[in-house]
Amino acid sequence: MKTIKILSLLALIIGMSAFTVAKIAVDDGYKVGDIADDFKLMNVDGKMVSLADYKNAKGYIVTFTCNTCPYAVGYEDRIIALDKKYASKGYPVIAIMPNNPDVQPGDSMEKMKERAQNKGFTFPYLMDTNQTVYPKYGATKTPHVFVLQKTSKGNVVKYIGAIDDNYQDASAVKTKYVENAVDALLKGSEVPEKETRAIGCTIKV
């Protein structure tokens, strides 16, 4: 058993030596300009939610987040604020919890319900139950935002990355990446910064 384990590990290392793991993960997901697939995921209210359910939406702020990551928790109020500001303008927040609750019990559906209720989430908080949506999008961490624009061709990825440039202090933020992206889309102009990076918690598989 141990030999098999070592052998498979070796095979894995040899297989990966051509690329780094990070590269594979990033290359596998959506890039700005790609058409994002719809999904059907369980919401905290027990109903299934798809992007297509939002007939009047002009786009979506798809946000991978969770209960347990301190960065995600630090951004909760700002995610709520995004939905309050942009849902009525046609860009609702769609929050997706990508972690495996067996590995991260604090992210179970029960705990998600509690959190959504306590914080008064105005947006769906969906569980990526089979963990198939986050790899397709290329989300690697929480929080990780994908701004989509609804077009005749489908939902086009217009922005990937962080919410803003200060995870510690909302009042010290200099650049609001997501707001700038959605504002630009609403005005019909180019998104100023299409991709940003931030530290986040690895998605638990």
Binding site: A22, V26, C69, Q168, C201
Partner: protein, 178 residues
Amino acid sequence: MKILKLLFVVSLLVSCNSNKKNEEVSQKVEDVNTTVSVSTDLEVYDFDGFEKYLTKNDGKTYVVNFWATWCAPCVKELPYFEKLNQEYKNKNVEVLLVSLDFPHLYDTKLKPFIAENKLQSKVVALNDVDMNTWIPKVNEDWSGSIPATVIYRNDESKFYEQSFTYESLENELKQFVK
């Protein structure tokens, strides 16, 4: 010895803010029977200050691991980095543990964690909120999830946005230490 220990606890008390937290910290420190050799001084850098740790050019191999106490997979692999540091320190290898913990938790979380786990590798804290600027400077391919690790010697460098076992970590190091 006892006096030194007392002094250590007192210095901890002075350096912390809330009373309740102070008690927790000193209690934890007492529990593990920490000696005075455990430093409570934490080097904290913004990225400009930290960058020197990624650009040394002295023939030594550096294993730089980005982690945080709140990151479960990071904490899980820390012993492997500690073991690597121990086993390879005579082979011109140095492990550096770069904490991305929240600054307001340095005293209540990070320092007690370092003491409790008796971390022998050098630990520094990186506190720079403008992550979109500094993450690509560490590596173009880094999306920002942790754990993440850089192994480098002089101009030769590899980046890993992944978790390690001791074996896989040692295998990577062996490409640098011949």
